[in-house]
């Protein structure tokens, strides 16, 4: 048996080949990750729940399948599942007190697809409460530590980004080979950038939302985290697919994403949206962006300046639409049927007690905002106007994709910040989503790829945005960036260290 350190360092593609060649077993691989979790999770807090025995049973089943040659795309691959995906028989909390005792009797479509393909679930990854946050600081189960450290400030505990911070930290620290996330305004791509990972937000409708605890239905996108573009392609290939149980699911065949990674970018037209040149963008992020464009040009792509004129309204639009939907989606957490209940003298009092005890401050804030923007007298000024601007933003993307095949932008306006920073003003935190919300509002696919380090030695990501349902081009461009960047830096906190 290979030593644990090297097993947890493998990519999904390498592990897949190793398992099929019999170089190690799925149980070896799962045990190596469970040991890593045991060692590091007390510090990182990347997992809310570790499903030890289930993981081992799944690994044993994977070994049996491998022995018979009857394996799927992910047979024996240990993954972390964002604790927003309902998993049958495994507690699913959404990082909220209100769902703390909730054990779903059903499996989300995306996780069922992963299980169908043989994946092993190590446990449920931490997140911002109900996926509301950009730092993982709003989890009722405590913050997650980013495995990366600032070179000059080893004491600072950095955030992994959010909302899928636990997923990102787990994959970065080698506690899992890949992870599921959900991206409502950047919740996969921003933590991927903060943790030096590949994060994929596919097209809206590509991955079923059935069984995923809803935050904002029209913006929620399940997607994968992995350490390489190829790995993320393997995972998305398994997670994606039409689901008749989700009315917004797209009835389209799932292409071979892994093959698309090898396409190259020769002849592709890559757009540079001028509105993404935000004032006050750190020079190193601007420099990395230019570097990315150079890499693509050198690989044979043509770089084109384009305009997404309504970009500046994206964040405001997002922070009206998302809370509006959330205020309604979270109404079901009322203490009547499942989860937390705090009794009261009468029904309204029970609601008040339950929801006050069950929801944290950020969730309460967004419910308030959402209730406000939908209420009589304000609906037209906020919600309706936001919907109109959303239509204009979608038109911007459609117009641009008539000219180019993909867009290249930075993923986030900064590298990972420290726990406690940006906490004084919610708007500052919301600004982290400035480059990512557009793709959610338009439903187009986008990938964040690690492309370099800042002066503190922290990873920075570049974002590739493509046409709806053209994930293949986005994978091709991402893979080209990955090859050119040769990103080999490792987080200081990781398994085997």
């Amino acid at each position: 048996m290979a030593n644990s350190g090297s097993l947890t360092d493998l990519t999904i593609a390498e592990a897949r080949d190793g398992l099929r060649a019999g170089r190690f077993s799925a149980v070896d691989l799962t045990m190596a990750h469970l040991h890593a979790i045991e060692a590091l999770n007390p510090r990182l807090n990347a997992f809310i729940t570790v499903s030890h025995s289930k993981a081992l049973a799944q690994a044993q089943a994977a070994d049996a399948a491998l022995a018979k040659g009857d394996y799927g795309a992910l047979t024996g691959i240990p993954l972390a599942i964002k604790d927003l995906f309902c998993t049958a028989g495994i507690r699913t909390t959404a990082a909220s007190r209100i769902l703390e005792p909730f054990v779903p009797p059903y499996e989300s479509t995306v996780t069922a697809n992963l299980l169908r393909d043989g994946a092993v679930f190590l446990g449920k990854a931490n997140l911002d409460e109900f996926a509301m946050g950009s730092s993982n600081m709003t989890s009722a189960f405590g913050p997650v530590e980013n495995p990366w450290k600032r070179l000059q400030d080893q004491d600072a505990v950095l955030v992994p980004g959010g909302s899928s911070g636990g997923s990102a930290a787990a994959v970065a620290a080698r506690l899992a080979m890949g992870a599921t996330g959900t991206d409502t305004g950047g919740s996969i791509r921003q933590p991927a950038a903060f943790c030096g990972l590949v994060g994929v937000k596919p097209s809206y409708g590509r991955c079923s939302r059935w069984g995923v605890v809803a935050f904002a239905s029209s913006l929620d996108h399940p997607g994968p985290f992995a350490r390489t573009v190829q790995d993320s392609a393997i995972m998305l290939g398994s997670m994606a697919g039409f689901d008749p149980k989700d009315s917004t699911s797209a009835e389209r065949p799932v292409p071979d994403y892994e093959a698309a990674c090898k396409r190259g970018v020769k002849g592709l037209r890559i757009g540079v949206p001028r509105e993404y040149r935000a004032d006050g963008m750190p020079a190193e992020i601007e420099a990395l962006w230019q570097q990315g464009l150079t890499w693509l040009r050198e690989a044979g792509a043509e770089i084109v300046d384009v305009s997404l004129p309504h970009t500046k309204y994206g964040l405001a639009t997002y922070y009206i639409v998302a809370p509006a939907e959330a205020s309604s989606n979270l109404a079901r957490y009322d203490g009547v049927r499942f989860g937390l209940r705090k009794d009261g003298g009468e029904l309204a009092e029970m609601y008040g007690n339950t929801r006050a005890a069950g929801f944290g401050p950020e969730v309460r804030r967004r419910i308030m905002i959402g209730t406000y923007v939908l209420s009589a007298g304000y609906y037209d000024a906020y919600y309706l106007r936001a919907q109109k601007i959303r239509a204009l933003i979608l038109r911007d993307f459609n117009d641009v994709f008539a000219q180019v095949d993909a867009l290249l932008t930075p993923t986030a306006p900064n590298a990972a910040f420290a726990q406690g920073e940006n906490m004084d003003d919610p708007i500052k935190m919301y600004l982290n989503d400035v480059f990512t919300v557009g793709a959610n509002l338009a439903g187009v696919p986008a990938i964040s790829v690690p492309a370099g380090l800042d002066a503190n030695g922290l990873p920075l990501g570049l974002q590739i945005i493509g046409k709806a349902f053209d994930e293949e081009t986005v994978f091709a461009v991402s893979a080209a960036i990955e090859r050119a960047a040769g990103f080999t830096a490792l987080p200081q906190i990781r398994a085997g260290q």
């Binding site: 309902c86 959404a94 009797p105 069984g211 109404a331 079901r332 009547v336 009589a376």
Partner: protein, 484 residues
Amino acid sequence: MTIYAIEGSTGPWEVVVGLEVHAQVISNAKLFSGSATTFGAEPNTQVSFVDAAFPGMLPVINREAVAQAVRTGLGLNAVIHKVSRFDRKNYFYADLPQGYQISQFEHPIVGTGVIEVELSDGSTKSIGVTRLHLEQDAGKSLHDQHPTKTFIDLNRSGVALMEIVSEPDIRSPEEAGAYLRKLRSILRYLGTCDGNMEEGSMRADVNVSVRKHGEPYRTRCEVKNVNSIRFVMQAVEAEAARQVEVWESGGTVVQETRLFDSNRGITRPMRSKEDAHDYRYFPDPDLLPLVLDEDWIAGLKAALPELPDAKQARFRAEYGLTPYDAGVLVAEKATAAFFETVARGRDAKIAANWVTGDFFAALNRTGATIETSPVSADNLGALLDLMADKTINGRIAKDVFEAMVETGKTPAEIVEERGLRQVTDTSAIDAAAAAILAANPDKVADYRSGKDKLFGFFVGQTMKAMAGKGNPALINETLKRLLG
């Protein structure tokens, strides 16, 4: 047309009524889940995770419920909207698991239509339909099962309802009743709602206002959840009378939701203002707009059954029935079918008389329905045949019919068993008639001296002597000859 008015101290007041009818869609599954919808099942046995709004559950529209709404729209001569949309109506209640009801607020599936009603004075009136939309029903809160707790039954949660909204075209309790009866009849013909108000599968909210002739509309009140046609008519009357009194005593009618207390025959306010809801309607992001294919609608239209108005017209034309008889016979699809079976190949007027007369009376008396009736349409038709071919006479037919109601046997069996076959043997009639005349020489003399009316006495006596089985025409003929 008679004008209905409430006579106040300041003169007559016109009553203005609009009805919102909630009709439960006949479908095996709920509007957005596959759960069953059988009435009266054990509590919480027809509940899916979608109906109970578990985390991550999503609605998927039931195609059959959509088809039922379209059929209903077509039956109401209404505009079918090829694109409609589902919205969320947000409010908290313990029997509303999602915390919102999925409904159609801005863009309903069916637009304006019309219902023709017949009134007791023989006139007809068109009442406009504003819209029909699909929505989910809520569950049920049971407050009487425990001293301090409320129990929740989610069997009804998510069941498909059609809300059918009328224009404020109704001007009297009678018109309100006629509208509801006609609507129910159309729904039953279409098979889109069973119209059973007792089981709650059809409920009405009644909007009432009053005004002086020629005025614009005054403030209306909504009387919620009235569950019988009779109560709707009473509620209109009671609420209109109340409003007249408010206006005439110098007060102002406030727009509010009220309940009808059927025991006391009055309406009373439902809730105070503090519970006034802001429903925060917005398009349900879990559902795409509902887009209907033109050919699909055309297919549903082609497959529609004959509806009450068309059937009534045909019954008048084809069978020569009066508008009244035709109206009575078409009110229920089953009755119309029963009548047509009886009338086919026979004298339609006699068939109509028997169905609306003795047959309806028997149903009323025995509490049976057309479906459970011991007398089948074929057997009633056979009875008419026995009269037509003079096997029995009309008087015996009544007795045979009663025996059919009691035993469920065919008329032929009963006639055979009881020996009720009509006597057409002229020698037997001659003998019976001669015996009657011989036994009543004084009356024969009176008759011959001009008391014509006594002829009926001789007929009755002869028939009686023959145990009712004599052929009436032959008895008449014989007596005339003998008395001649």
